[in-house]
């Protein structure tokens, strides 16, 4: 029997599902190997048990968290798909502002008070804080990046289809960037999080003239304090460094000593 595969989206741009739809060359072949039972963005069918459940997006509300727990209880493997699911991505920045304040800033105070009156829709508005998927349920595999890497997705699916545990090397973006012989971003007078960020993306941003903002998260063994010292020595202010981390890594510990106050 073909394995049942499902995709679920929470708060996200749904770009990771799109990245998969964009694999025109392999998508139809893949569909011969699996039974796609939920993929709301592209199909209208449903199922009750899943061999592999892909979760896209971060979790912001109690009802979303309940839905996630329910999916976990019906799935053999659960995969966090993309940066939002893995570490909250850019929306985790809103955790630095209280939910009530966030609503006030976006919807205005009077509107916020008015819509809150309708009890039926209250859960819709019950934003708690932005959480990564593994803050709520056990995650078997992380497919990092914003967007996720379609190559890594295929590696994972192929491994699971042949009853193997997929392996993703834990090296820094910097390693892949050097391999591509890019001019170092620091030598170009800009700063970069490549030395401490999870690789696997082939340093795609630096290859294309940009810098690494660590959308894949920070490596668990990275010497963050040393990297902060390096950035400070290049004349980058503490505030700018913090702002840098906060783009994609709001949920991470970013070196309190070197940056010298809470993050």
């Amino acid at each position: 029997m073909k394995p049942k595969v499902a995709f679920f989206d929470f708060a996200s741009c749904e770009g990771c599902q799109l990245a998969l739809l964009n694999c025109e060359d392999v998508f139809l072949d893949l569909l011969e190997q699996i039974e796609l039972v939920e993929f709301r963005e592209a199909i209208s069918e449903k199922s009750s048990r899943y061999d592999i459940a892909f979760i896209e997006g971060s979790i912001h509300r109690e009802e979303d968290s309940k839905r996630l727990i329910d999916i976990r209880s019906r799935s053999q493997y659960l995969v966090a798909l993309g940066a939002c699911a893995c570490n909250g991505n850019v929306q985790a920045r809103s955790n630095f502002i209280a939910p009530a304040e966030n609503y006030k800033l976006i919807y205005g105070e009077s509107d916020r008070n008015r819509v809150q009156v309708d009890e039926e829709y209250w859960p819709l508005w019950a934003h708690t804080r932005v959480r990564a998927v593994d803050e709520i349920v056990k995650v078997d595999f992380h497919l990092r990046g914003c967007p996720m890497s379609a190559e890594e997705f295929m590696t994972l699916v192929k491994a699971l289809l042949s009853n193997q545990i997929p392996h993703f090397p834990e090296n820094a973006v910097c390693v892949e960037c050097k391999r591509n012989a890019n001019e170092c971003v620091f030598d170009k007078g800009m700063s970069c999080l490549g030395p401490i960020a999870y690789g696997g993306c082939d340093a795609v941003c630096v290859n294309n003239g940009h810098v690494c903002d660590a959308c894949r998260g920070l490596l668990p063994y990275a010497n963050i304090e040393a990297h902060n010292e390096l950035m400070l020595s290049k004349g980058i202010s503490k505030e700018a460094i913090k702002s840098r981390y906060r783009l994609f890594c709001s949920a991470e510990k970013i070196g309190k000593e070197t940056l010298n106050n809470e993050h």
């Binding site: 990245a19 912001h60 929306q91």
Partner: protein, 434 residues
């Protein structure tokens, strides 16, 4: 049961083949519509707050993440608004590259929506998958077109999703000239494939339903307005500049939607392919007008289901326009430009047409050059009110002739025809039909 005394309850949670989460809830008692809500249940992401404190060049990269399907549109809207805030100007080369990048997203998004998300409704299947065996040639062509559009975005932007090459004032790295030549050839080749795709669309049947509304789009003196222009209303026949977009959107909040709603001269208005074709038909490429004729799309068209046809017309227009623009770009060697800029205090807004309609962004920067104000009004949040108005007229009108299932599927098709992007509109969105 007498048709006038029908009781119908429809609840469609998390409508499928839709970007984002939306639900439809309809309650008919004794033949009377007691409740009809288009619920937008997407979780909030508060993007306008997320960019505060961010330096100007990081703003476009951050707001790109509002939506995967519309990432190019959000980036370009943000780049234009930030440049307006900081009084930065661009070269003709950069404008041309942006025009091409923007239209690459039209080709990609329209092809995805029309062939993969919408058409299954009109041939009576649940997804594209059954079509892969019954219409293999068509699906192959649709996939080929989508791949061309994706490669197009990737060559110009660095990658298909959240491209990193475009930035303030210019390009971080220029597109490869050989790849541009190759794209041009593929675009020229695609013209024949498109003819066959048009033939397929031409034989589909569309629900016979009309409701005149206000059509809002950009308008430009010299071209079919996509990259820039003034904000035009079909109700007044007049335009306002992009900086006055708030007079157009008049955003307000309703309890059953985490996306804000909009209205201008009447209770709701429509943006998107149909609004653009209605407002700017004369500026379409002749080939696109021919296709409009072949599809029997006569302007002004008041049938929202025919937004799908307008998308087909725009695929043709953009293909021919991109071929011309690409040839123009390739006449000279691309020049690497200085992308350093001076940050300053200021506020600026922008308007751009993206596949789903007109998109507004606005940003402000403080003395340190950090973002202290942000606002984004997304096409779908402008359309949602109009979709609900359509449903409110459609349901009572069709009630005598349609049973529950047919009514429900027509509501889903109506919602899908607008090609809503719910992630965008709540920066955050979820639709349920109850």
């Amino acid at each position: 049961m007498s048709t006038s005394k029908k009781n119908i309850r429809i609840k469609i949670d998390h409508v499928t083949r839709l970007e984002g989460h939306g639900s439809i809830r309809i309650n008919v008692e004794q033949g009377k519509v007691e409740k009809l809500n288009l619920e937008i249940v997407e979780a909030n992401r508060f993007f306008e707050n997320l960019v505060k404190g961010v330096p100007p060049h990081d703003v476009p990269q951050t707001v790109s993440r509002i939506c995967g399907i519309c990432c190019v549109g959000h980036q370009l809207a943000a780049i234009k608004a930030v440049e307006n805030a900081l009084n930065l100007t661009i070269s003709p080369q950069t404008r041309l590259l942006r025009v091409l990048l923007n239209e690459s997203q039209f080709l990609q998004s329209h092809a995805l929506h029309l062939y993969f998300l919408a058409i299954p409704d009109y041939v009576g299947v649940k997804s594209i998958l059954p079509l892969a065996s019954s219409q293999p040639e068509l699906i192959k062509k649709a996939l080929k077109l989508k791949k061309l559009a994706n490669d197009f975005t990737a060559v110009l932007g660095g990658r298909t999703l959240h491209p990193m090459m475009p930035t303030l004032v210019g390009w971080r790295k220029l597109p490869d000239k050989n790849k541009l030549h190759e794209l041009l050839e593929r675009l020229q080749e695609s013209v024949t494939d498109l003819e066959q795709m048009v033939d397929f669309v031409a034989q589909l049947k569309w629900p016979d339903y009309e409701r005149q509304t206000e059509y809002v789009s950009l308008k430009h003196a010299d071209e079919y307005a996509l990259y820039e222009g003034e904000i035009y209303s079909s109700d007044t026949g007049k335009s306002v500049p992009e900086s006055r977009y708030r007079e157009v959107t008049n955003e307000f909040t309703v309890a059953h939607s985490t996306a804000k709603w909009s209205r201008w001269h009447r209770e709701s208005y429509m943006v998107g392919a149909l609004a653009r074709v209605n407002n700017n038909y004369e500026q379409l490429y002749p080939q696109a007008k021919d296709v409009a004729n072949a599809l029997d799309l006569k302007v002004p068209c008041y049938n929202p289901y025919k937004n799908n046809l307008a998308q087909m017309v725009e695929i043709i227009h953009c293909t021919h326009h991109c071929i011309d623009a690409m040839q123009q770009l390739l006449e000279k060697d691309l020049q690497m430009e200085d992308i350093h800029y001076q940050s300053s205090k200021g506020i600026g807004s922008s308007a751009i047409e993206v596949p789903r309609g007109i998109l507004f962004h606005e940003y402000g920067f403080d003395e340190q050059g950090l973002c202290n104000h942000a606002d984004a009004v997304i096409p779908t949040s402008q359309n949602i009110n109009n979709i609900e108005q359509d449903m409110k007229q459609f349901v009572p009108q069709m009630l005598p002739d349609m049973e529950k299932d047919e009514l429900a599927s027509h509501m889903e098709m109506l919602l899908r025809a607008y090609d809503p992007c719910i992630s965008c509109s709540v920066h955050m969105l979820d639709v349920t039909f109850v």
